[in-house]
Symmetry: C2
Subunit: 519 residues, 2 copies
Amino acid sequence: MVRMIFLLLKAKILGLEAEKPIVILNRSDAEEIDVRPLDRVEITLKRKRGTAIVNVATRFIKEGEIGLYGEIADHMRANPGDKIYVSPSVPPESLIHIREKLTGKTLKDEEIKKIIEDVVHRKLSEIEMTAFVIALYNHGMTKGEITSLSKAMTFTGETLDLGKKLVYDKHSIGGVPGDKTSMVLVPIVAAAGLTIPKTSSRAITSPAGTADRFECLAPVDLDLDDIKKVVKKTNACLVWGGSVDLAPADDMFIKIEYPLSIDPLLLPSVMSKKKAMGVKNLIIDIPTGEGTKVNTTKDAETLAEKFIELGKMLKIKTVGASTYGEQPIGFAIGPALEAREALRTLKERKGPADLVDKVTHLAGILMDFKIGSGGKKEALRMLKSGKAYRKLREIIEAQGGDPGIKPDDVPVGYKKAEVKSNVNGRVGWINNRVVVEISRAAGTPKDQGAGVLLHKKNGDKVKRGDTLFEIYAKKGYKLERALQIARKSKVLGIGKEIQMLIEKIPARIEHPKYFILER
Amino acid sequence: MVRMIFLLLKAKILGLEAEKPIVILNRSDAEEIDVRPLDRVEITLKRKRGTAIVNVATRFIKEGEIGLYGEIADHMRANPGDKIYVSPSVPPESLIHIREKLTGKTLKDEEIKKIIEDVVHRKLSEIEMTAFVIALYNHGMTKGEITSLSKAMTFTGETLDLGKKLVYDKHSIGGVPGDKTSMVLVPIVAAAGLTIPKTSSRAITSPAGTADRFECLAPVDLDLDDIKKVVKKTNACLVWGGSVDLAPADDMFIKIEYPLSIDPLLLPSVMSKKKAMGVKNLIIDIPTGEGTKVNTTKDAETLAEKFIELGKMLKIKTVGASTYGEQPIGFAIGPALEAREALRTLKERKGPADLVDKVTHLAGILMDFKIGSGGKKEALRMLKSGKAYRKLREIIEAQGGDPGIKPDDVPVGYKKAEVKSNVNGRVGWINNRVVVEISRAAGTPKDQGAGVLLHKKNGDKVKRGDTLFEIYAKKGYKLERALQIARKSKVLGIGKEIQMLIEKIPARIEHPKYFILER
């Protein structure tokens, strides 16, 4: 296409931040170069070039001016008054492939690569990315497409090369509250001599992510160089994936998937990040049951098989594990409360039965990759001998935390409330969804010290007046809000033998739609 | 859901315009009420309430402040420093129905109504609206859904009640350049005593819309009251649909459809606007052939049947017409050039053969609704007798224009270039797509006087050195740009008998993807 059209406009730096590169043109200038709101323009300042999305103003930006949001101003190193060339941008080629996928076509490897590159370079608008995500959701993906997506997502971001042949990792697809498994598993596995550079996420829809939890013990926002140093020193790390630029396309997709409650990119999202970290042996934890993401073991098997298959294509030896997920793991829910529980488990060499069993099972499977069998026993030995605790201290120290930190040193919310039982009986079930809701109402994940501490779990005997759980919060009104939900909802089912009624429908309290997006 | 959470923030008016109600919160405040970028919040100031989309800043907006874009600031009548209550908004109920449609479910009438209401009230984000449009595109719509959509789009906007039983209208689905049919047809039909309150669009992807053309003769941005007065006085009007709030949801959908080059909402879009204008008898013009939107008469029939069927559901008697669209209508392309040609045709009571034939055919079909048969002859009589020209003058005057305006009074671009033939022969075809491209490069629709004036059309004899067409522009560089396209492309096919080669593939010049979105 002939491209002679441009404007020379005076920069106005807006000090506004969006998560997109936005420029604002005067309506008349926009019409002059035939661009409409949300169209893209190419902008050039000296030798710097960039693509930006157009917003249009009639008064705020005058004719002859261009307003730049913070991100694009930084990228262009633009100063107020700089003269900037602006021309309409040709729609990216990848848009053609997105349109093709919309009609159900199977995309080729290089077409997918082009799309992911344009996503990462912010060349696609929200509308176009939404079209792509929904096309994947509606038409599904072939194995080839999933593999191409995973690779493209991996190699458009940073990658870690530890120069080792064997890198191990564990990943949970999430969905069960209080799951501090990684915090206990990583020191155990590393104590046994395996290399496990664990990156993890912060909470999206849950009360806490592993990164939120471990942050209560040590900094987690390490860059790739620091991660390398920590792993060389300790065989392990526990860091926030977001501080490394792993598979950055995924962050863009999450923004689309979250409001629509769809998650077509789960597999490439998880596996591209593992690939980027150089993982060779992987265990995928699939919490299973009512109130989790995967409701039946049959579904868990199907999902595990997909991970295993994709693993083969990416040269990552993968094993799946369906684990019981119908009640929280351990007793604590919320970053600080969970950090305390994990730290205590390692320090005292024993902890909640379900947590210890889950951790040693999964750690055992990882260790079996190396030693063939007997992994679970060996994992338990690492815990009982105190080696895992020493490893945890090493990791905390290497990441810049205080290795001497004790469970009670971790600050938790000082506003507390207890919820007591008004019946005698036995706990039949715990409603994960309501526990999550109470915990988030109390302030998690933002208020790290907030959360829920269960006193009773499935099978426990309860007497009238016994404390069922405590709620921790940083602020009074949040505690009140959490309590209000706790009062109106059935959190634990307690009955003579077993309490069968979970919820009356319609319920007295309307629960928000429950969509778990954790990766 | 329990909704006790809110913040009381100090208003900062940003003087920024977006086409969406955006507020900017400090990151910490956003986390405090658990909202993420692009989530919605409800804001309250005194008794005014509104829903806004959240952007997040860390520096530009301080903790305790809320930045308001122009639209939402106006809506809330907010002044700097006002204290505004902000709370997270429950996702609109219609989102559930959008998700259902994504999975292929057929939506009920009231569900569609809810979606359209939320679109119009800006309660849905771009991501969510995109999801809806693509769901319609992928899963299609039942007749019931199309009818519900049309009604919902009609009744979420303004409607015109003329108190007359019979209101006539003509609509073209577009796709052929130079189509000034409506400008000539409306005065003819009105002169014959039929009521025809014509609303039309401005160009989206074409060189000119009817509103752009008629604006060269009289103001077209009339509100509903003014339209009523004009129609009562003259039986007709020729106004811009955008100045009336007809089926406002459509404008939002167009923003999504345009970048994706998909148009699933064509039928409800057109018919909801007709319904809003109280139309009872309608002719749908479907320009047909290579280089238009509908390539074969078979496709035209299928589309016409859909319009007829939907018309029945909406109580609009509808007839379709497939018309020859493989070359421009008349000789002029571009708002002012076309206004001249239409005005001249009415004033001189004769005009280009194709234009006059098309106009009288379509006007005839409309008149046959009333008189049964002989409409075409009657239409021609209105033109030849000068009654149509007198009617045009009435309409121009009623809308606030100068009824004495002569064709040469309409200003056209004074930068001109002629393109001549270097061969002898006969015109076999004209490439609509290239004509559009040249015309837009020359400045249309923004520069009203720009465009293309053909000197030769299909079947015309051409001698070497004859002018094939002229290009008009307002600015030199635009003329140059248009010429560059004209030189490198085949605009007219001229051969001894007929020139069969349209384009070498790959071509020397890369034409942009050709998607016509005109309604």
